[in-house]
């Protein structure tokens, strides 16, 4: 098994290039159909193109708040979520904005979300990257790290109780594994054999904190041992490996065999968010990882199979750019919510009257709107 050495924080850690690619010991995967290979690539390129555009828009001050780019992690984002069923649920993390593209949320809604417009799925309530989409069963997430996994267990429980053949893909980072919530979700999924795939996107840092200060293991998939579910680690920059491992786990879940923990080892190219210069990493480390660009790697692979050339790539990018421009345009032209709409959707009943007109039980004291 080939291993690559990468520096993580102050320590040297071994990052095996490929670890236990399959749940079935010693198993080999069938080669993927060409169409699937091309789609994996296409989606990675789309995700990258969208996020690089978002980063520019943010730097230009076209939207406020913040953004958590997954650039560099596309193989993981794409490989774990290609071709899900409409009802399959996603429990997204703060860095899963692009997972919407995989599931099919219209791009214009996503940009409306970034811009905090009334037309966005949450009508301007949450921070740009905390996006959900009810029609495609993507949980509207809180920022509490790992909390979405636990809500995910309930969705999976409902699938199980209703004998529906759907799965929940629960996304979280290496840092999230330190929280009790993460453990509670895993344990419950183990006990109830829930149809879930827990994808831990191990990008070696939680904000500035390197993995070795987060947990004493380097392979997060080991943690599955404690929950009676299988754990797999894959090279998160190899989209084919990720896809194959994920498919196996998804198929298992759909077949009623329970949950899997899938660790994808990868790296975020930029700061934790757009306002983080990420000085806690060395330029060499970043450079090393950029050389393992999952998109370039896939281009080389496809080219070797005669499935890729630069012209096709440019054509794809041109298509994405067009779609993005339309989405930006939609977002920028979208209205913002009226201030008082912040009083809506608190309960199933309205609280507007209660909040706006504090009826006063006194003849002398006038009603003021406060």
């Amino acid at each position: 098994m080939a291993t690559a050495i990468a520096s993580i924080g102050d320590e040297q850690a071994e990052i095996p290039a490929v670890i236990a690619p399959s749940l079935r010991e010693g198993a080999e995967f069938e080669p993927l159909p060409e169409a699937t290979l091309r789609r994996l690539y296409t989606y990675m390129l789309k995700c990258r193109t969208v996020e690089e555009k978002i980063r520019i828009l943010f730097k230009q001050g076209r939207f406020s708040g913040n953004y958590f780019a997954a650039v560099g992690q596309e193989a993981t984002a794409v490989g774990t979520t290609l071709d899900l069923l409409e009802k399959d649920a996603i429990a997204p993390s703060h860095r899963s904005f692009i997972t919407h593209i995989m599931k099919g949320t219209p791009l214009k809604l996503l940009f409306a979300q970034l811009y905090g417009r009334k037309t966005s799925p949450d009508q301007g309530r949450s921070a740009p990257a905390h996006c959900g989409y009810a029609p495609l069963n993507i949980i509207t997430p809180s920022s509490t790290i790992a909390a979405q996994l636990n809500i995910g267990t309930g969705i999976a429980l409902a699938f199980k109780m209703r004998r529906e053949p759907n799965v929940v893909i629960a996304l979280s980072g290496d840092g999230s594994t330190s929280l009790g919530f993460w453990h509670e979700a895993m344990n419950f999924a183990g006990v109830q054999k829930l149809p879930m795939v827990f994808v831990v996107i191990n990008n070696l840092y939680a904000e500035s904190v390197p993995l070795y200060l987060q947990t004493a293991v380097t392979d997060i998939s080991l943690k599955a041992q404690g929950y009676g579910i299988p754990g797999v680690s894959v090279d998160g920059n190899d989209v084919v490996a990720v896809y194959q491992a994920a498919r196996e786990a998804i198929d298992r879940a759909r077949a009623g065999e329970g949950a899997t923990l899938l660790e994808c080892k990868t790296y975020r190219w930029y700061g934790h968010s757009e306002i983080d210069p990420a000085k806690y990493r060395t330029p060499e480390e970043v450079q090393e990882w950029k050389q393992r660009d999952p998109i370039v790697a896939m281009e080389q692979r496809l080219e070797g199979l005669g499935l890729w050339n630069e012209a096709w790539k440019q054509e794809l990018i041109a298509g994405f750019r067009q779609e993005i421009e339309e989405a930006v345009d939609f977002a920028e032209k979208s209205p913002v919510a009226e201030a008082e709409e912040c009083l809506d959707h608190v309960y199933s009943f309205s609280v507007r009257e209660r909040e706006l007109d504090r009826k006063v039980w006194s003849p002398k004291f006038e009603v003021v709107r406060r």
């Binding site: 509490t144 309930g154 429980l157 409902a158 919530f181 608190v346 009826k359 039980w361």
Partner: protein
């Protein structure tokens, strides 16, 4: 009509809702074979099976969060928290998830969830089996907080909570479970959420309470009548959040005097909000200070009997406060 205890009323409501709607299911610690530590779910697993009456792992966070996800998916979970003292592991699930899911998704994702919580002191449970812990949730918009004081209300409010489209926290006082009995219809009925009830009409003084202390307040009102001829109007809040301002303020507008009784800590117990609301919105109606009868502000209720007694509101303390306010 059969006479039922408070806990029978709860058990009956659960059984009826499980029968009525196949989306209803129960989840909690020891609720299955054991039927709950107070037997609120007695016999239900036998009747409805282990999937619909589910023993959870020992994790309140799991109980509430998995219920949220299930509720989002159209089920109607009824979660049980064994003791209010152990609700903290579910604090994120309740306040950051359940309370905010509808809001953060602009109404596109919701959680019609009921969380039954056993609370209250006066039974020698000590620091960690006596807590009330309602204020944290009353202070959290997005949650409905309910606390019935009688078997009739317990059945009707629990059914209403299960059918409601909001996350409802349903506080059951452990001291009421077997100490109160009344006639409860066998038919299906609900008691509306968000509405207080005037449990005793009166003209001289408004007394506001809920749950176990509501019963003490009713006794105190009777004593005020017997001993002083004072007519106390007793309001049972029933729903603590969002609470029914109108009923309270209407009453204050004609009595001009107020005593509030509760068992949660004094500072920022619900009495504070009621009092502040009256001081702001019915100032001119008041003829006397608004007095709160509450425990002292100490971390929790000690186990030893004398200290527990000192802590708990009781009829004497309420009567003393009422006399004070009337004499003012």
């Amino acid at each position: 009509m059969p006479v039922m205890t408070y806990i029978d009323a709860i058990n009956t409501a659960l059984r009826e809702e499980l029968t009525r709607d196949e989306n209803v299911f129960l989840i909690g610690e020891d609720i299955g074979k054991m039927g709950g530590v107070f037997k609120a779910t007695k016999g239900l697993q036998e009747e409805f099976g282990a999937e619909r009456v589910m023993d959870s792992p020992l994790a309140e966070g799991v109980i509430v969060s998995s219920s949220i996800g299930a509720a989002m998916s159209g089920l109607r979970p009824v979660a049980e928290i064994q003791f209010a003292d152990f609700i903290t592991p579910a604090m994120d699930a309740l306040t950051q998830q359940a309370a905010k899911l509808r809001y953060r998704s602009a109404g596109t994702q919701t959680c019609p969830l009921t969380v039954r919580v056993c609370y209250g002191g006066g039974v020698g449970g000590g620091l960690y089996h006596s807590q009330t812990n309602t204020s944290w949730f009353i202070h959290t918009p997005g949650l409905v907080v309910v606390a019935p004081s009688s078997p009739y209300d317990a059945k009707g409010l629990l059914k209403a909570a299960i059918r409601d489209d909001n996350p409802v926290m349903f506080f059951e006082h452990k001291k009421l479970y077997r100490s109160v009995k009344e006639e409860v219809p066998v038919e299906d009925y609900t008691v509306p959420l968000l509405k207080a009830a005037v449990k005793r009409a009166g003209t001289h003084l408004t007394a506001v309470s809920y749950g176990y202390t509501l019963r003490l307040t009713l006794e105190a009102a009777e004593r005020m009548k017997q001993e002083h001829g004072v007519e106390v109007e007793v309001i049972d809040l029933r729903t603590l959040a969002p609470w029914d301002k109108e009923t309270v303020l209407d009453s204050v507008a004609h009595t001009s005097r107020v005593v509030i009784v509760h068992e949660d800590n004094r500072t920022l117990g619900i009495g504070a909000e009621i009092s502040a609301t009256i001081a702001e919105q019915a100032f001119d109606c008041l003829d006397a200070p608004i007095v709160r009868v509450t425990p002292p502000d100490i971390p929790a209720i000690p186990a030893a009997a004398a200290m527990e007694h000192f802590y708990m509101p009781n009829v004497d303390k309420i009567v003393a406060a009422m006399e004070q306010v009337i004499r003012y």
